[in-house]
């Protein structure tokens, strides 16, 4: 690799890292807008904590667990204890660490919305440390860290079983479904907000306080995704890379718009009016869905993934809210959990190189099914232990009085609107 080439790759990676970092305010605004004004400072604070804890812990330990040499039979990598010298790669290790840090923080911040308006702030800190320290880096080690799910040696488990390795280009499974599954378990452990369900089990609407903020948040996330997906190529120099990142830009955008359009029309038909709050989720659903296969599917395939995610999203939100009675104020478990899983599976079907619909046989689809199962079982197991453990030992939820009057004043002593 020539000097200019590697410099171009580095600049592209750092630029993409900036865009992915910019997804943090996107999440913050989106979640703030979908919740009530009395809890606004709390949810903003949680979004900052995710990034602060994520950056520190991933730098000290998580980076090594994810990318270090195998220990414990490849279950985790060797923690780096703040030392970056172990990493061998063409790209500068500091830049690569930043790039991976923002992905870790994205996974962590998904949960805050689902647990909004009723979680003890101190206990949220415990969760936030756990995901950046243990949950995300370990499953990341199995995949992007070169671990067993992505080991393409001829005698590896994945190659002998499926004839293909698990593929998740930018993190539908590794980042989003993990955040979504944890969001789901967290919301179960907490229970619904006061007043969300009547005694007869009827779901009540608790409108968010500012859909303008939520809309801006979604636009910001959308922009951030142009770093999240194309940046995951980790290279820009040369013909192969410049075509690849351009392709990923296109598939990313097509899935986003297809997801939004699908949700808009489904809500129009089901509820009589096109719903803004759900269309915002639909756009994110398309983006989450395309993230796994944005490099492998055709532009038409991207539209299909977006449409499927946008339609399924509406029914997933309805099912979780009306049938399961799990209160997820921002729809994180549907957007990131359900559509993250869906996007990973559809990559196995729609990949133009080895997907089942393109004559690639069912081996790759099997690898995708197995990979997402392993990753999400891991996330679910960790979530169950973590959230129900906290609930048992200390209590996860604030007192009813604090919840009624707002977390801002009682948990932080300041409010967003004065």
């Amino acid at each position: 690799m020539n000097e200019v080439g590697i410099s171009l790759d580095t600049v592209w990676m750092l630029l993409a890292a900036m865009l992915v970092f910019w997804m943090q305010p996107g999440f913050a605004l989106c979640e703030a807008g979908f919740t009530r004004s009395k809890n606004c400072a709390n949810i903003l604070m949680k979004n900052f904590v995710d990034f602060m804890f994520g950056s520190l812990l991933f730098f000290f330990i998580g980076f090594g667990i994810m990318f270090g040499s195998d220990i414990l039979g490849g279950f985790i990598g060797l923690p780096n204890w703040g030392d970056l010298s172990f990493y061998e790669g063409d790209l500068p290790v500091e830049g690569f660490l930043i790039f991976e840090t923002v992905f870790c923080a994205t996974s962590a911040t998904i949960v805050s919305g689902a647990m909004a308006e009723r979680t003890k702030f101190s206990m949220y800190l415990v969760y936030s440390a756990f995901i950046s320290l243990i949950i995300y880096p370990i499953e990341g080690h199995w995949t992007w860290g070169g671990g067993w799910l992505c080991n393409d040696a001829a005698d590896s488990f994945m190659m002998t079983t499926f004839g293909d390795v698990f593929h998740d280009f930018a993190g539908s499974a590794i980042v989003h479904s993990v955040g979504g599954v944890l969001a789901f378990i967290g919301a179960i452990a907490l229970g619904p907000r006061l007043g969300k369900y009547s005694k007869e089990g009827k779901s009540h609407a608790i409108p968010g306080h500012n859909l303008t903020l939520a809309s801006l948040g979604v636009f910001i996330l959308w922009l951030g995704w142009f770093g999240f997906n194309p940046g995951s190529q980790l290279a820009a120099a040369g013909e192969v890379n410049r075509i690849a990142i351009s392709h990923v830009f296109l598939t990313t955008n097509l899935a986003a718009v297809a997801g939004g359009v699908a949700t808009m029309f489904v809500t129009w038909m089901r509820y009589g009016k096109p719903s803004l709050s759900l269309t915002l989720n639909g756009i994110l659903a398309g983006l989450v869905g395309i993230t796994a296969g944005c490099d492998l599917v055709s532009p038409v395939g991207a539209v299909i993934i977006g449409l499927v995610c946008g339609v399924v999203l509406v029914f997933a939100i309805e099912f979780i809210d009306h049938k399961l009675h799990i209160d997820d104020p921002v729809g994180a478990s549907s957007v990131h959990g359900v559509c993250g899983i869906l996007g990973t599976l559809m990559t196995g079907l729609l990949s133009t190189s080895n997907g089942a619909f393109y004559g690639g046989g069912w081996g790759f689809f099997g690898a995708e099914c197995f990979g997402i199962l392993v990753i999400d079982l891991w996330a679910a197991a960790c979530g169950l232990i973590l959230f129900f453990g906290i609930k048992k030992l200390h209590g996860l939820r604030v007192d009813a009085r604090i919840e009624e009057e707002g977390l801002d004043i009682y948990e932080h002593g300041e409010s967003c609107y004065n």
Binding site: S203, H204, A205, G208, Y271, K273, S277, N281, G331
Partner: protein, 115 residues
Amino acid sequence: MKKIEAIIRKTKFEDVKDALLHSDIDWFEYHNVHGIGQSREERIYRGVQYSTDVIERVALTIVCRDQFVDPTVKVILRVAHTGEIGDGRIFVSDMIDTWSIRTGENGDTVLRDKK
């Protein structure tokens, strides 16, 4: 001396305001008010249908000399009218006295006479 209170549609406020300024009213107050009535508005948030009985209207308060009551009421009746349920109400009541803070005067003379 009378007090006229009118509850009108928010969408009709600009028209009523202009019409009142063109008649002989030199000052009136208005408030955004929330009322609770029998009619309900259907809303949907994130797929959950709910109805709200809160109805948003504008309340005008006008104090004027007796001879202006009729023309003022007529202006509001004409301009704030759509014919649909929910156009609003006008209430007229006696006003015992009025004082001007600047001059210390009281009674009818404080209020505007014909142009």
